[in-house]
């Protein structure tokens, strides 16, 4: 299928991009890699009046390192993370996650900011970056603001972004040397949409621990009690809370779906504790 006709502008800089976004109102879509938007355009599920291309903006490709985090421009591609072309503040988690997104040909073009803005619950970045407590830096003509990823997604394809806002960068905290992570994704075929994602980060030095159950129907779910038990008592204590936590978080899910989600989280925890 071919998309419906739309206009196309390549923004020359960020100011131009947000100005175009503002002027076009709800009929415009920002596009960078377009690896999620493209299929929806071709299927005519999405019918924008204007595409604003920001893929080549150098300011969206920056990497800024500071002591406690790294700021990644929104238009960095998954493959750039996979190949280690940018530093990894998460001890390999980001690199591992990037390498498992869709297929190489998609990773070569799809971007980290685009994936977050699209807010598909099955997307890898959403769960992985929520697990490390990353935040998005957002810009509109009115100014900038920062939104924690745990507050960013309101539902499937629905974010806290206003119509005239765009993601400029993603701020990812540095995990300390003693930290460990686990990430397990279940999908029917390599590269397909995930059926379940478990993402776990344990960082004793920063007294940080988070357990994320992703690829649910809505925003990624934080399993808070489990994270607390995991931090205080280790794997056994955390896993003891797993089934109940999944049931509370997904009351309407079919038993098989709950089981998938529990397995993904369990395996992610297993990676953290080396089994």
């Amino acid at each position: 299928m071919k998309p419906v006709a739309f206009d196309y502008e390549r923004a020359g800089n960020l100011e131009e991009a947000v100005a175009l976004l503002r002027r076009a109102d709800a009929g415009a879509k920002l596009v960078s890699g377009g690896q999620s938007l493209g299929p929806m355009l071709n299927l005519r599920l999405v019918r924008p009046e204007l595409l604003i291309d920001v893929r080549r903006l150098q300011s969206l490709r920056r990497v800024e390192e500071s002591d406690d985090r790294i700021l990644f421009g929104a238009a960095l591609t998954h493959a750039e993370f996979e190949d280690g072309e940018v530093p990894d503040p998460t001890g390999g988690l980001m690199r591992h996650v990037a390498g498992g997104i869709a297929y190489r040909a998609v990773r070569n073009r799809g971007t980290i900011g685009g994936s977050l803005a699209h807010a598909d619950p099955a997307a890898d970045w959403l769960s992985a970056l929520t697990a490390v407590d990353a935040a998005v830096q957002v810009r509109s003509q009115a100014g900038e603001r920062v939104i924690c990823l745990s507050d960013f997604v309101l539902g499937a394809f629905t974010t806290a972004l206003a119509e005239d806002e765009m993601i400029e960068a993603v701020a990812v905290p540095r995990l300390s040397a003693a930290s460990a992570w686990g990430y397990h994704k279940i999908c029917r075929k390599a590269g397909e949409f995930a059926d379940a994602i478990g993402a776990v980060v344990v960082d004793p030095e920063r007294r940080y621990c988070r357990v994320v159950m992703g690829a649910v129907d809505g925003p990624p779910v934080l399993l808070e009690e489990m994270a607390e038990a995991l931090a205080a008592g280790g794997a056994e204590a955390g896993l003891a809370k797993l089934d109940a936590a999944v049931e509370v978080a997904l009351p309407e899910a079919a038993p098989a779906a709950r089981q998938l989600h529990a397995v993904a989280v369990r395996r992610a925890i297993g990676q953290v504790y080396g089994r």
């Binding site: 071919k2 998309p3 419906v4 006709a5 739309f6 196309y8 390549r10 709800a26 596009v31 377009g34 690896q35 938007l37 493209g38 929806m40 355009l41 299927l43 005519r44 599920l45 999405v46 595409l51 291309d53 190949d83 280690g84 390498g99 297929y103 190489r104 040909a105 998609v106 070569n108 807010a119 619950p121 507050d151 309101l154 539902g155 499937a156 394809f157 629905t158 460990a180 075929k189 390599a190 949409f193 004793p204 920063r206 940080y208 621990c209 988070r210 129907d217 809505g218 934080l222 994270a227 931090a231 205080a232 008592g233 280790g234 509370v248 978080a249 309407e252 953290v272 504790y273 080396g274």
Partner: protein, 386 residues
């Protein structure tokens, strides 16, 4: 039309293109380079894979207009390439193709594997090839062909490092209280409305309920104003209502997907039992999609009649373009959120706080949901109507 200048197989090309023309169509139709094949046109099958600026990418979900200044290399551009020559030979030797439709994409991906990865094992080769579908070979011949070329030896860039695992795991500690902001995820209430056996196959069924702090009589009375109640649904509007039949519109926005369903419905209510149904159907002309729905609602007294539980069951079916969006779980989640918005607005209205011009709320549009809502909405209206 937009002017683009790019390099294709080493030659400079300047052309005027429609923004919606994807690169594969541009290559095939405008430049006559039909070696690039189109299978799914949604980035799944890999038949259209070409090299853009030295990296394999999908030409069906990359628009030609976005390739201004890029260097594109199609299967036709590899005639003198030694590595591609070896792969071609190996594909032939190992029966890596039958009908040949996937072959251009397979070759380009295979060349990327051979050039980028250092001694991948078969599992890795298969993983890397997973984005290219072949319906003939069972992949055995293709994988053998790639392996045979790799076996000939070749210097490759470093592979992705695998994180070493600690055996013991991290130490235990007391978590910082701000280590993870507590975000209670409100568990949607499951309506107790009995699900009737339905002969409607392939319909989606949703049940929701919410409580309002008013007596069932008050709620029922307020619900007689169908257009008013409809206004509590984000994006919904009743255009005509004669007491039983209604006409209306529902606009839904589900992320990048938006739709506007126009339709008709019938409200049948039983004032004594404080329950009713709304049935209806509508169409989104832009997407040529249709929705049919049935909403069943009931008011149940709570707290000795001081409060009311509103139970709603929505059944709907979506056909046409929007029905291609097959991920029903996401649609359900959207419907839940929409219902939550509706309940909040209705509750405010029943408390005398809501204005008639309600914002669209947080809920953005969805296709299937749009239908659901149009239905639900009508039902609610009819509910209100009594």
């Amino acid at each position: 039309m937009k002017q683009v200048s790019l390099t294709v197989n080493g030659e400079a090309v300047t052309a005027a293109v429609e923004p919606r023309t994807h690169l594969a169509d541009f290559l095939r139709s405008d430049l006559g380079l039909t070696g690039t094949h189109l299978g799914c046109e949604q980035g799944v099958c890999g038949a259209c894979t070409v090299m853009i600026d030295g990296k394999p990418m999908r030409s069906c979900i990359t628009y030609a207009v976005a390739c201004d200044g890029s260097e594109v290399r199609t299967i036709e551009g590899f005639d003198g390439d030694p590595l591609m020559g070896r792969l071609r030979e190996a594909f032939s030797t190992h029966h890596g193709l039958q009908c040949g439709f996937c072959t251009p994409g397979m070759l380009i991906t295979s060349r990327d594997i051979a050039g980028r990865l250092d001694g991948p094992d078969e599992a890795r080769i298969r993983l890397e090839l997973s984005g290219n579908l072949c319906r003939c070979t069972g992949y055995v011949g293709i994988v053998e062909a790639v392996k045979s070329v790799l076996a000939e030896g070749r210097t490759v860039p470093a592979d992705i490092a695998v994180k070493p695992r600690r055996a013991a795991g991290p130490a235990t500690f007391e978590r910082r209280s701000d280590g993870a902001p507590s975000k209670p995820s409100p568990a949607p209430q499951q309506a107790e409305l009995a699900t009737r056996a339905t002969d409607r196959k392939n319909w989606t069924v949703l049940a929701e309920s919410f409580d309002v702090p008013h007596s069932p009589d008050d709620v029922w009375a307020l619900m007689q104003d169908v257009p008013d109640v409809a206004g509590c649904m984000p994006g919904a509007e009743v255009v005509e209502f004669d007491g039983r039949r209604l006409r209306g519109r529902v606009r839904v926005k589900f992320g990048p997907i938006s739709a506007a369903f126009e339709g008709e419905g019938t409200v049948d209510s039983d004032a004594a039992a404080k329950q009713g149904t709304i049935s209806g159907e509508g169409a989104d002309r832009r997407s040529n999609s249709r929705a049919k729905g049935l909403v069943t609602y009931r008011l149940v007294p709570e707290q000795g009649g001081r409060a009311t539980r509103v139970e709603v069951q929505v059944e709907f079916q979506l056909t046409g373009m929007l029905a291609q969006f097959s991920r029903s779980g996401l649609v359900k989640d959207f419907a839940h959120r929409l219902t939550a918005d509706f309940a909040r607005n209705l509750s405010l209205r029943l408390s005398g706080e809501g204005g008639s011009a309600l914002p669209a709320g947080e809920t953005k549009e969805v296709n299937a949901i749009a239908l659901i809502f149009s239905v639900l909405w009508r039902r609610l209206k009819s509910l209100l109507k009594g």
